[in-house]
Subunit: 250 residues, 2 copies
DNA sequence: ATCAAAATCAATCAAAATCAATCAAAAACA
DNA sequence: TGTTTTTGATTGATTTTGATTGATTTTGAT
């Protein structure tokens, strides 16, 4: 019996029962205990089962990080407030840059049927933008796993051909001294470049992002207006000294 | 027994069972073990099966559960045959251009985990390409409503930065005198450009597209190899005079 | 809880099966 | 005819297998 066949059989047995003994597999497949042991070791290395004394059990599905798809469904009220506020800054016939990310995604419903042009590196944005009949340009380049963003040198270079009236950028961290930051340098470079290409520059960050730093700074505070949902009284002064701040409160 | 006959038989056996031993093939075809080994090696090089110790297994062996994405719309058998045939032409470490469209979409499952790079203007392709861990570059430019294609002058210009080993292009019409054609000129221009940038050029068209013309010709027949599912005897001669033709038949 | 028997384990090794490489004979070709 | 391609047998190398070893874990009786 071929090795993959045995492996398939083991996994099938395992999904039927929740647990199997080595002896039962020996009887089932008429091979030696050693062979079964080796099979189980291999399958365990592939995280397809978990070995236990005398047999094996199914592996509890490790839930990986929530995909963008999931994240965007639970858009918080705060994010929506920020998004609506930001969208109100756009005037007819503007050309805007919409960064990839969940907060900027929330802006799209507020752009419905408006006579504007959107340029974006966010692949997840495209469906909704099309649905709302908003003329859209996608930045070309390397497609980043999972996050649905376009990044890399090609994207950076291509961005240089554009000019924007407004740029809306997402961020992972906002810090008074460190500035705006994000985990991925390649994404950061793109954010930085987009900011330099725009007349008016905005960074969107709900209050959970304030006072946190990510690995890579893509801009100082003063280079872009911060749009957030609410500020503590003592923060307001500190931030306002360094940059324009807009508070999206209803 | 002729080599192609053996290969066809092996693939048929494989699709019936999911897995075959070399010995069973030796008995079935009355040829030597060596010959079978050579056959399997060759078929593996074309990614039509996977060799394992003692035999071979099917490649589309989805050990992972079929994703929603994957089965959301199963293409026709003809399209899949064309797609599989086309995918077998790709060698490791190739950089390929994958045109937007349903036929080229069907190629993606056959590219799973292969060490290649894909460049595409098809937004619909991206999800599946990411799922299969294929390094992907998206062409930037205007996003066309609904069809999920990127087109326009920006896309055209950006395409020029690339060079491909192989280009796979979809088409709406194939006509002996008129050539390859498509309804949208902007899409057509992109197809034409992609063809000029590639070492090897292929146009994919199932038999329903033969002998039909669309509004806009993007290439003469002779500039690209036609891959189709089946040809009428009288057509074969006519087409073969004008271009290379590959028939994806099982 | 403690201990010894039983069961299970990982590691090792030699036999068996399978493999890739080679080469000469057979077949196909021109 | 001579040349090229395909085939099948043979070689030694590699992989897989099953038995055996002593170590470790579990079991069950005290």
């Amino acid at each position: 019996m071929l090795t993959p066949k045995r492996h398939a059989l083991i996994l099938e047995e395992l999904s039927n029962k929740q647990m199997i003994t080595i002896q039962s597999l020996v009887d089932l497949m008429r091979v030696s205990e050693s062979t079964i042991r080796r099979d189980l070791s291999e399958l365990e290395k592939q995280h397809l089962l978990k070995r236990v004394h005398g047999g094996a059990t199914v592996v509890t599905q490790t839930k990986d990080e929530p995909t963008v798809q999931e994240k965007k469904q639970r858009g918080t009220t705060e994010k929506k407030e920020i998004a609506q506020y930001a969208a109100a800054l756009i005037e007819d016939y503007d050309v805007i840059y919409l960064d990839a990310g969940t907060t900027t995604y929330e802006m799209i419903p507020f752009l419905k049927d408006r006579p504007i042009t959107v340029v974006t590196n966010g692949l997840m944005h495209l469906d909704l933008l099309q649905q709302y009949h908003i003329p859209t340009y996608i930045i070309g380049g390397k497609v980043k796993d999972k996050t649905g963003a376009v990044i890399g040198s090609v994207a950076l270079k291509q961005l240089e051909h554009y000019h924007f009236n407004l740029a809306f950028i997402g961020t992972n961290g906002v810090d008074v001294s460190f500035g705006y930051s994000t985990p991925d340098p390649e994404e950061g470079d793109l954010k930085e470049k987009a900011l330099t290409l725009s007349d008016k520059r905005f960074v969107l960050a709900d209050h959970s992002k304030l006072h946190t730093k990510s690995a890579y700074r893509f801009s100082e505070l003063k280079h872009a207006t911060l749009i957030t949902d609410r500020l503590l009284e003592e923060d307001r002064e500190a931030y306002s000294k360094l940059t324009d701040v807009l508070e999206a409160m209803t």
